[in-house]
Every structure is written in C-alpha cells, then in structure tokens.
C-alpha cells in the first residue's frame, strides 16, 4: 500500500497498471491526454507498450487486436473520440473482447469547450453503438474512486469478456486528491479464463454456465476465429433466427445474469429520507455537501449515488428511495439519466434537476433549482 497525491487522470493510469495493463493505444484529446502521456512514460517500465495511432478508430481496433493477443489493453478518450470508437465498441461486444475505455467527458455537442466539464454523454455510453447489448460503465466521484473503479473495470472486463467504460469528467481528472494505491496481493486482480478442453475440441464462443466462453488467444495453438458476423459457438457465420437469438441473448444475459458482480452504488442518509437525490460522478459531491447542509437544518434528505451507471444498482436504488416522497435526479446536463432512474421508480415522484456548469454544479445552484419542490 502506498499513499500518493494524484489527479484523476494519473489515478486512472495507475489503476490500469495495478490491474495489469500491458497495451495502450490512443489518440490525444483533452481532457484525457494525461492518461496517455503518463502511461507513455510509466508503462514501458513494466514491459507494456504504448502507441499513438492515427485516430480513435485505429486506437480501439488496435487494443481489440492486442487483447486477442492475450494482454490487458485500454484506450482513453473524450466525446469526439468516443463517437469515432463506436463501431469498434460494437465489434468488441460482438467478439467478446475484454478491454477498458477511459472516457473523460467534456462539453458538447461537437467540439464544445475542450477543457470544460459536463455529464452529457452518459446515454451515448449506453446506447451509442449499434446492435443490442448491455454495457458496463462506472462513474467515480473522487480520485481514489477513479483508481479503484479503474481496477474494477479491468476485472469486470476480464471476468465477462466485455468492453468496460470508466466514465469520468474534465473536473475529476484534473482534481488532486489523496489516493491509497494497492500493491501486488492487496487487491483482487481478475484474468480472463482460459480453455480447459483439448485444443481440437475448443469452440471460441461456447460459454460456461456463467455464459462467458473461456478465451483462447492468438498464437496459443487453438486456431481461434474472431468473427464480427453473427456466429455459432465455433465462430461460424450463420443466418438463422435460432443462431441470432441465441447469440444476442447470451451477449445480453451474460451481463444481466452476472449483474451482482458488476453493480456498485453508495447511499447516504437514506434510511429515513423523505427526499432522495440521485447523483453520480463529480456532481454527486456537490449534492453530498448540500444533503449534509439540509440535514443539519432538519430536512430528511439523502443521497443515492450509482457508481455503476450501467447497469444501475436498481435494488439499492429502490431500497434507498423506499420512504421517499420525492426523488430528485441532479445532473450536469439537460437531464438524461433521470429516465433510467424513473424506470425503476415507477410509482414515485421523480424530478429532473439539470444544472449545467462548466466545472461542477454548486450546491447553491442545485438548491435554487430544487427549492420549488422542497
């Protein structure tokens, strides 16, 4: 264990190295570039490779290739770059490739303000790629959590053979905070499971009971077949309803059925809360301050903070809001994640509190918007 003082970007890079990252490909983009630059300096010291590619499309496809060569791989980007990566993301989902994308949100649409923050892209992360799938995305609120959830992102990606997104924002990645870093043996590190059957019996997309197929990689003698077309368990292209249904449902269900290994959340002062605020990422920090202040004035208010945005920890959400008369969803955007919260709180009064701020919504600004309902 080691205590360091780091920014969010450096903590993500350190977390990735703790998790066993060995290949990074990227294209520079504010506010994520420090992850790239830090790794370019540090990763070679532990035998890892860092390459700058010609664009984000190449970057994501290169890490997919590296992952199939058997190592842990990641890239980092922001909105414009993630838009370019979406076809590759869909590929990674289809061919069940473990990898991590550190997505640092900035303002949009388009180029927006490159250095400034927001939470505009939480739905893009969920729905941006084509086809049907479940995505896993974590949203840290502190530098420590950026480190911890980066490790978790790698673990879950390896466990389920899926791409995982670590979703932060410009404010968090430039914040300096104390971080407790883990050494070898101090934190669980998950590696993808390998085949146990003889090579000639191996089928690259034949799942175990957990719906996850063991992963043989290139150069290991299994003659693997990576296939972006709809495929059966051998990886053979098939055009029947049966195969399509089986494949798509398995890809979706391997996340749904293993949800308990994925979801993460925190609740504060919710036991007796008449009002619950749902907030994630940096915005939740302002909300936390506000909740404490209102509590000290006698308001029965609490905070529910999803750490896994996708999928949300719905059981914990429902529990946290069980006594609530009103649920507020505070976001640094026009109010988008509120729909996901509504989905699980059908009979509750759920109110969207969108507060756009280039850094982080202040507790005062949030209260001003909320006041009419309190």
């Amino acid at each position: 264990m080691k205590v360091e003082y780091l920014t969010g970007n450096y903590a993500i890079a350190e977390g990735a190295m703790t998790a066993g990252l060995k290949f990074y490909a990227g294209y520079p983009i504010t506010p994520s570039s420090e992850i790239f630059e830090y790794l370019a300096k540090e990763l070679p010291k532990v035998g890892g490779i860092v390459v700058q590619f010609e664009d984000e499309i190449a970057s994501i496809n290169a890490i997919i290739g590296a992952s199939w060569a058997g190592v842990k791989a990641m890239t980092a980007t922001s909105g414009p770059g993630f838009s370019l990566m979406l076809e590759g993301l869909s590929l990674a989902i289809m061919i069940e490739t473990p990898l991590v994308i550190a997505y640092v949100m900035r303002t949009g649409p388009s180029t927006g303000i490159a250095t400034k923050s927001g939470q505009y892209d939480v739905m893009q992360v969920r729905w941006g790629a084509h086809g049907n799938y479940e995505i896993v995305a974590y949203a840290p609120w502190s530098v420590q959590e950026a480190y911890d959830l980066t490790i978790k992102s790698f673990n879950v990606s390896e466990l389920l053979r899926i791409p995982v997104i670590l979703l932060s924002d410009a404010t968090l990645v430039h914040l300096w905070e104390r971080v407790v870093m883990k050494g070898p043996g101090e934190v669980v590190i998950v590696d993808r499971k390998k085949p146990k059957v003889p090579k000639d019996m191996y089928k690259p997309y034949e799942p175990d009971e957990d719906l996850v197929p063991p992963m043989a990689c290139f150069g290991e003698g299994y003659r693997v077949l990576v296939e972006s077309l709809t495929h059966d368990e051998r990886g053979y292209y098939k055009t029947t309803n049966e195969v399509q249904r089986k494949l798509v449902w398995r890809l979706v269900n391997k996340v749904r059925k293993n949800k308990h290994l994925v979801v993460d959340s925190a609740s504060y002062f919710v036991d007796d809360a008449e009002y619950v605020i749902v907030a994630y990422g940096t915005t939740a920090r302002s909300v936390y301050a506000l909740v404490k202040e209102l509590r000290s004035k006698g308001v029965r208010i609490g905070l529910f903070r999803p750490k896994s945005l996708w999928p949300i920890d719905d059981d914990a959400l429902v529990k946290a809001c069980s006594k609530a008369k009103k649920v507020f969803v505070v976001e640094n955007n026009v109010g988008v994640y509120v729909n996901e919260v509504c989905r699980f709180l059908k009979n509750k009064d759920v109110i969207s509190i969108p507060v756009i701020d280039l850094d982080i919504p202040s507790p005062e600004d949030i209260l001003n918007v909320m006041r009419e309902w309190l």
């Binding site: 390459v51 190449a58 496809n61 997919i64 290739g65 590296a66 003659r223 693997v224 053979y236």
Partner: protein, 276 residues
Amino acid sequence: MSHPLDRYLRTDRLPHIWCPGCGIGIVVSAMLRAIDKHISEGHFSHDDVAVVSGIGCAARATLYLNFDSAHVIHGRAIPFAIGLKLVKPRLKVIVIGGDGDIAAIGGNHLLHAARRNVDLTVIMVNNMIYGMTGGQVAPTTPPTIYTTTTPYGNYEYPINVIKLLSALNTNYVARASITHPHLIERYIYKALSIEGLAFIEVLSTCPEVFGRHLGFKNAVEFFNKLKEMVRPYEKPPIERSDIVWGNEIVIGEYVINNREGFVRSVYKSLNKWCKG
C-alpha cells in the same frame, strides 16, 4: 481424397461463398502455397500464422482459413493486426481484403502502417469495384465506367496504391495478378520473409458484378481480357505503375527497401526499460 493444402482450410465450411469464376480463390490458393512453402522449409510453423481481414468478398477469406484468424470490421483489419503483432511479434500476421476495405475506408490506416513500416503482409485484392455490396464505385475503378453509384460513368480518378506506398518508403511493394498465380505465390512468399510492411496488390476479376458492368459475357472472357493487358516485369519502375484500363498493366516487384520494422523499433525502445 484430401488436398495437401486442406490442412490450412476449415474444410467443414466449404463450399465458399465466392461466385463461380471469381478471382479471389486464386489469390487465396497462392497465399496458402506461399505459407506452406515457408512452413515446409521450417521458417515458421502453422500456429505462427495469423490472418486478419475486414469486410468484403476478399475479406471473407478468413472464414475458411485454419489459422488463428479474425474477420473484423470494414477497413479496420490493419489496426487490429498491429495490436496483435506488437504484442505477439512471433506471429506472421497477414491482412487480406478488397481495395475498398484497404484503400478507401481503411486507406488512412494503410498509409500510417506504411509510414511506421509495421511488420505485416498486406494483400489487397483489387477487383476495381465493391463486390460484396453489389457493384458500387471503388477508389480503384477506372474513369468513365458504369457502376451502380456512378450510373452516368465514373467521374473520379483511381488511386495508385503502389505509388502511394512507394512514396512512404514501404519495405516491399509489389503488384501481381490472378492471371499469373505463380507470381502471387512468389511475391507473398517473399513478403512473408521481409521485415516491415510488405504490400501486395493483386489484380483480380469480379465477373459477377464488375464483369457485368464492363459488358463481359462470362468469367473467362473477363479473365482473358485482364490477361491480355497484364505484363510482368522484373523490378519495374514506379512510373509504370499507373493503371489505364485497356492499356498494358505492369506487374512486378516495384519497391524493396530495408528500413527497420516497427516491431524492432518499438521493442528497442522498450528494452531500455526491461533489460533483455
């Protein structure tokens, strides 16, 4: 009775999807013979070969190959292959695809792979058309020709990938043609022993779509026309590499350089840290 090259095929997947008379099969067979020659000479083993392709008729080759193989997305075979190669330098990584896959949507990746001199063998099957999607114009389609997206005749100029890559000092640049299969085999054999990027353009026929556009009655007629135009040369000068439909088309080994490959330069810099 099994063919000696069958061990490199997923024979349970045959017959393949290519149309009767399509040139792609000739390219794939020549590639397998070149690989087989290396393997039988002990240069590398069956399990050292990896083939990566994007999307298109030519890219479908990976479906039938009994190597570690990846059939990924349109245009992105090269970056996937680079990730693979950098992590496992021992592998002989071959990229195969159509001219649309490699020179249009994937053109930027090709250009930068050449600039970096990445250790890959890239085989571009140039049928001068988008075959898989039904006959749209390609960046290699000759001017004035009818395609489904240029119904009044192609108003663009084709790209000469040979010239492009020679300008980037690519280590190996050759053009072959399905009309001369032994040269395809020879160039691929050579390419597989070369450090850095080796690029082979193989002129091919798409009788099903492009043949119809051009007015050929059948695959043989198309093949014969191509054969009539194509002429092999030893080390032809780069100036002769432009393709003008109807004129002589020069094939041969255009460029052979000896620059350090990307893998070596990456690992050199890496080894500074991890001694040995």
